[in-house]
C-alpha cells in the first residue's frame, strides 16, 4: 500500500485539453451515477400500479425537466464519446500518436449528434404540449406552466 503514503506534490497533469477532458469525464460520470439511482427509484414505482407511476411521471412533464433532459443527453453523449476517445488512446496502438486529432474529432462528433437531438427534443416538446393541451394554450404557457393540462383535451 505504499502508494497511499506518497505525499502529493500538486497536479500531475500537464493541463490543457487532456486535463479538462479528464475532469469533465469524472464530473459527468459522477452526475450520471447519481441520476441512475434516481431513475431506478422512479421506474421501480411501476410496481405500485399505473396511477402512482403516472403520477410520478407527471412531475417530469414540463419544460424545466425538458431542459434537464437535454442536459442529461449532453452528459450521456459527452461521457460516451470521450469514453470512446479514451479507449482509442489506451487500446489502439497508434492512439497516443493522434491525441490532438482524437480530441478534436470527439468534440466534432459530440456537436454533430447533440445539436440535432436537442432540436428534436425541444421541437417535439412544444408540438406535443400544444396538441395535448386545451385550446388557447400558447408556447409561452408550455414554457412557464409547471404542468400543462393534458387531461382537458
Amino acid at each position: 500500500m505504499a502508494y497511499q503514503d506518497i505525499v502529493s506534490t500538486g497536479s500531475v497533469y500537464k493541463g490543457r485539453t487532456g486535463m479538462w477532458l479528464y475532469l469533465f469525464h469524472r464530473i459527468t460520470g459522477v452526475a450520471l451515477f447519481g441520476y441512475l439511482l434516481l431513475h431506478i427509484i422512479s421506474t421501480a414505482l411501476i410496481l405500485a400500479g399505473p396511477e402512482i407511476y403516472e403520477g410520478a411521471e407527471a412531475i417530469y412533464k414540463n419544460f424545466y425537466f425538458r431542459i434537464g433532459e437535454v442536459g442529461l443527453m449532453a452528459a450521456v453523449l459527452a461521457h460516451a464519446i470521450n469514453g470512446l476517445r479514451i479507449i482509442a488512446v489506451d487500446l489502439w496502438s497508434k492512439g497516443s500518436d493522434y491525441q490532438k486529432a482524437l480530441n478534436i474529432s470527439a468534440m466534432i462528433v459530440f456537436i454533430a449528434i447533440f445539436v440535432p437531438t436537442t432540436y428534436k427534443m425541444i421541437d417535439s416538446y412544444f408540438e406535443l404540449c400544444l396538441e395535448k393541451s386545451s385550446a388557447g394554450t400558447t408556447i409561452v404557457d408550455c414554457m412557464i406552466r409547471p404542468l400543462p393540462d393534458w387531461k382537458t383535451k
Binding site: 460520470g29 427509484i41 411501476i46
Partner: protein, 132 residues
C-alpha cells in the same frame, strides 16, 4: 510541442505479491464502456428522440416489458451501468478522499448503495406483471 520517440516508459510494472484486480478493473471499464455506448445511448435515443418522454406512461413500459428481449436489454443496461458507475466512483473516492477512515466509510456506503439498487432494479424487471 516537440515530438518524442516512443519508449518503454509507459509500460506497467506488475504489482509484487499483489493481485491483478486493478488491471482487470481498468480493462473492464473499457469493455463495459463500449457496450454502454450502445446500450445507454440506444436507450436515450429510444426514450428521448424516437419517442418523447411526454408520451411515457404505464402502457408504454408494460408493452416493452411484454417481450423478454427488452427486459434483457434493460437488465444488461442496469447491471453494466451500476458496475461501471460503482468502479468509477471507487476510483474517484480513492483519488479524492485523503483520510483513510472517511475513504473506507465512503467506499462501504458506495458498495452497499450499489448492491441495494442492483437488487431493486433486478427485482422490478423480474417481478413486474402488468395490471391492466
Amino acid at each position: 510541442m516537440k515530438s518524442v520517440k516512443r519508449t518503454d516508459w509507459g509500460r506497467r510494472t506488475p504489482p509484487i505479491g499483489g493481485t491483478n484486480f486493478e488491471l482487470y478493473a481498468w480493462f473492464f471499464m473499457r469493455i463495459s464502456g463500449l457496450f454502454l455506448v450502445l446500450l445507454a445511448a440506444g436507450h436515450m435515443f429510444i426514450m428521448h428522440v424516437f419517442n418523447d418522454t411526454l408520451n411515457l406512461d404505464y402502457e408504454f413500459v408494460a408493452a416493452r416489458w411484454d417481450t423478454p428481449y427488452w427486459r434483457t436489454f434493460d437488465w444488461l443496461l442496469l447491471t453494466l451501468s451500476i458496475l461501471h458507475g460503482t468502479n468509477g466512483l471507487r476510483i474517484v473516492m480513492h483519488d479524492n478522499i485523503a483520510n483513510k477512515t472517511f475513504r473506507q466509510l465512503a467506499l462501504y456506503g458506495l458498495y452497499f448503495t450499489s448492491t441495494a439498487f442492483f437488487i431493486l432494479g433486478t427485482y422490478v424487471l423480474v417481478a413486474f406483471v402488468r395490471e391492466v
